[in-house]
Symmetry: D2
Subunit: 349 residues, 4 copies
């Protein structure tokens, strides 16, 4: 079986796992009060060009979104996002479970636009009944988006400006951030994210760690506020007892630029896969410059294909057509790609 269904089909990058083995017998304080967490925190702040800020290492993406949005939103506020956003579709109502409405907007190429946000907010405050409606308090973006596309720096700046105009916080889900950072088309750096958002997270789970996401909040919180955030993490069951295990994995990824290497390698493989399949006449429904690639194939091919290759289905653009998603990561080998291409080619004959 070739695993291209997602970027979380294998354990961890060898360097990451080896490091966990190396530190296995070093005693640490629990709940993130350890020295590994502390210096990884400083390492990430440094990569983000931040003198100061809060960094918390959580376990998974949905969990991080729950914590971040429960932090950013006040009682009664909602969050604006793309229709296909993870928080709107695939988190089983996690945000609503904290009492907040998720408000989806239509997108272009999977992206929210500053214009769409502005239109919504202008119409909202223009509606005399708005106090009876959920007031948006935050904008949620994913970089890359759910369909692999990228926000440009200009787009991000424009969104920030609209957020400022309407007192909206801006939060970015970076579950696959290294594949944005590793894409040649990308012009948004970690520093830009630190500059233009109120918070974002750098994903680990989909980027070569066993688990772990690093939530970054630019700027230091007052001590009591920081502890309240710690408490929020705890009360959402997101506080890892052996907190250093998550931090240590990020340390390996970020100490010497491994994250960039892993990201750009995976993207290159993804583009190779795309180009090869496109060359076979298999169309992509949209252009993705990152590690997720999408292809339209005849629906009858799904079943034979699924016997040798994992993939996800992303809708049915035509009566007998299906869109599939193939994803590369640190574990994808040239041989995996060659086999997958040959396999699909063979089915097309």
């Amino acid at each position: 079986m070739i695993y291209l269904g997602n970027d979380y089909s294998y354990g961890a990058l060898p360097q990451v796992l080896n490091h966990l083995v190396e530190i296995n017998n070093i005693g640490e304080m629990g709940y993130g009060e350890d020295t590994i967490t502390e210096h990884t925190r400083r390492l990430l702040l440094n990569k983000c060009g931040l003198e100061d800020g809060e960094v918390f290492f959580l376990t998974g993406g949905t969990q991080t979104n729950i914590v971040a949005l429960d932090w950013f939103l006040r009682a009664g506020e909602g969050v604006l996002c793309a229709e296909g956003a993870h928080i709107n579709v695939h988190e089983a109502g996690a945000i609503e479970a904290t009492g907040h409405k998720v408000i989806p907007l239509t997108t272009e190429s999977g992206k929210l636009t500053a214009n769409a946000i502005e239109r919504y907010m202008t119409a909202f405050f223009g509606d005399p009944t708005w106090p009876h409606m959920v007031v948006p308090g935050c904008v949620y973006l994913s970089q890359p988006t759910e369909i692999g596309t990228l926000y440009t720096l200009k787009e991000l700046q424009a969104i920030r400006e609209v957020c400022d105009r309407f007192s909206l916080r801006l939060y970015i889900d970076g579950a696959r951030l290294i594949y944005a950072l590793g894409s040649e088309e990308n012009d948004v750096t970690l520093q830009d994210l630190a500059d233009f958002t109120d918070g974002f997270y750098i994903g680990g789970t989909k980027c070569g760690t066993l688990f772990g996401e690093a939530l970054i909040l630019p700027g230091l919180l007052p001590e009591l506020e920081k502890k309240r955030l710690f408490g929020l993490i705890k009360r959402h069951g997101a506080l890892l007892a052996k907190g250093w295990l998550a931090a240590a994995q990020f340390e390996v990824l970020f100490k010497e630029g491994l994250y960039l290497e892993v990201g750009s390698e995976a993207v290159k493989k993804a583009l190779r896969l795309r180009d090869s399949l496109n060359a076979l006449g298999i169309k992509s429904p949209w252009q993705s410059p990152t590690n997720q690639q999408f292809f339209i194939i005849p629906t009858p091919l799904l079943e034979p294909l699924s016997k040798e290759l994992t993939f996800d289905i992303w809708g049915t653009p035509g009566p007998s057509e299906s869109t599939i998603r193939l994803v590369t990561d640190w574990h994808t080998t040239p041989s995996d790609l060659a086999t997958a291409i040959a396999l699909i080619h063979h089915l097309y004959k």
Copy 2:
């Protein structure tokens, strides 16, 4: 530094970590839909003497309590527990965050008693205003308790009977369950837990895994209900993308009885520590037959002690006395114990 402050100061049992290394390059399906999860599920059911049942592998204890109680409690119901219960004191309001009241009862030796539950429920339904009050829907116990004591089988049976009488579900937090199973004083088996509760979890984090807790629900759920539980796990951010990583660690612990060995070894070390310190005239405020031991020491010793030994403080029984907790686990060496004892002995001179 000697780490006796808790049982989560080191990575994982070597066998556990080695196994993760072994399976690192085996591709698996995400979200617990993999084969490792499936056969570990069967392994645990088997150990519990269950033909069928649901097993879910989550990340941490608070998270597992959130999921289990949100599953067991219906809208408006509350949960009865000991005053010092983890859910009442140290989970930052996690249960309340799901909308349910935590109702603490006074305890004997850290344990809820069938009598105390019965008295509460009888008084509750005897109060004409009870429909204005939170109806208890579940009883939460910890085995061992927060202070290291154990429920006997007879006590557990009696509690089950009271629960049945008042339509209460019974749930047990087994964060340190292997230290109960490994204690010579224990007479409650995994099968008993499966027989007498509506659900319980077997802890991994405090028992030698990197992370992970196995939630066991005796009996099969209808398919749609099972999926709703899966959804609850997801919406609490508790669904691990690489679910097999948690399951695989439990497989190592349970395949050949390692859990019992780890549990009983740690308890033996704990009792040795207790006996040695008691012999030095250092009193224990209560008898614990498991891996947590408690000692009353002069408060001025806390500071010098903390320079060489980690420990937790459990109250101040006298004006110049403090109770400290020392905990053993798989990583505690005879040399750790000897050093700790010598250290304390020295301070007493």
Copy 3:
């Protein structure tokens, strides 16, 4: 000022208010444990053709929706409704505040269709990722709809069948129910609502009482479940201390058919208003057979109109056109209608 902006601009029907004056000095038990509540409960069950069932008298519509949906939905479930549904737009996130996602579907003439529900549920369970998504547990309808249209008996039956097929409960918001019952086009009786839904409410606030909505749940609940529902009402702050005040108002409405008279008179006035304005060439964007009527007028007329008439704005169908809503009720006089028509006629000149 002529008040046609809504059906809650005046106190209560004289008969209703007089009755409150009559019973003002009769002592009653609190919290709905009184005799007035009990016999009004029986009166309403009787009108619904129910031998038994639960009836609770609450204060307002949003409150009743909160209680009913928190009752019908289990942890993690969501509610399907029309895009423009009150719970989706104008309740400030009340349903999300109880942890449940509101899932809007597109409508025809303001109505959900059995087909739309079936399509959604079929696609939902056909999506292999559905366990990561919010499972719909209930369908919410309004009769009449937010835009004044009516479900036919055939439509309601078809929706019930789809609900049964997919284990969905069916709940109807009847804030303006008497205007459905009083419409000549209506073929859905109170008995039909009792037969085809799991619960519905009969509105009072918009139908001539000071306040109050009667939540009807066909069939008796077991005693403990009934008390749990009582507790849910209490914990949502919806339990009226002087519960009989709400019940007594419903008694006046329903004892001798006053509700039908009030409903049909208001609808007749509404249709007269519609016909007169349509005759002046002022178009209605859709046909409403109930007490809410909608008209498209030039946007520049809004301001002068608002000086003498209250109305609500329902969107801008064209660049210089606005849709306004005019509503009749028990208090609307022939003179109000004549003045309003003359006023608009005058502005058109």
Copy 4:
């Protein structure tokens, strides 16, 4: 039957109900956007010695507590209160339903003390594990307390000081506030409440209105914050469509001092009842200077007494003794008192 079981057994003060009749045909804007609400708002601010502040008219006490605490508490915070506090015992988990823990403290004469709060907060921040615990964000008091006692101005000032020291907001439940204001022992004025709290409510339901509570927040909120509070009210189902009905009742109570008259008359009757029964040798378990009075009677008398008198039971101080509560209000007549006293006297023979 003599109704002394509570202060909500009858409709409304004649003056209040008459006023509702008078304004029944005056059209008003919905949702509190009317002129009656506006000038009653100014009237209450004036009585509180406030130049500016927010005033919202809600329906009931539990509802008002839900709204106020959801407003005052941030995500994760809890509320400190007396053990017997309404929010802790008799609101069916309403505060927990909004995600916040209720933290009860022991009391003296039913009152929280500044010392008890200080001790709790000092111990809390002294516990090294406090970030794992619920951080108190607010103190909840009732004036009068659940058992009829009164905070003195000095006590209130001391509590405010402790609150300031620990960043706690201070909120007072005034369901029976007029009976404090009408008590000769009282030295806390409306102005004091406005000076020393972050918010409080003046009860109507138990003080002679059909329903209604006036939530007072000293100081003006920024416009967007005010609208967010409006939205919170809406999303808790607490926004009355005919908002003026609640305000109008408060106007009658406060325009010319009726509230003081009603409060002091009821207290006088309560004290007469107390003195008469005490003179018969029937003891009060504690001294209440307000409209709730408590008496210890032989348990076998409960049943015969309940046939002619309504009362509440407040525990069983001895094996064959019960404490009952008798309550006076605007409707209690000298004849009610005489009959009740005679009745009890007779049973004692």
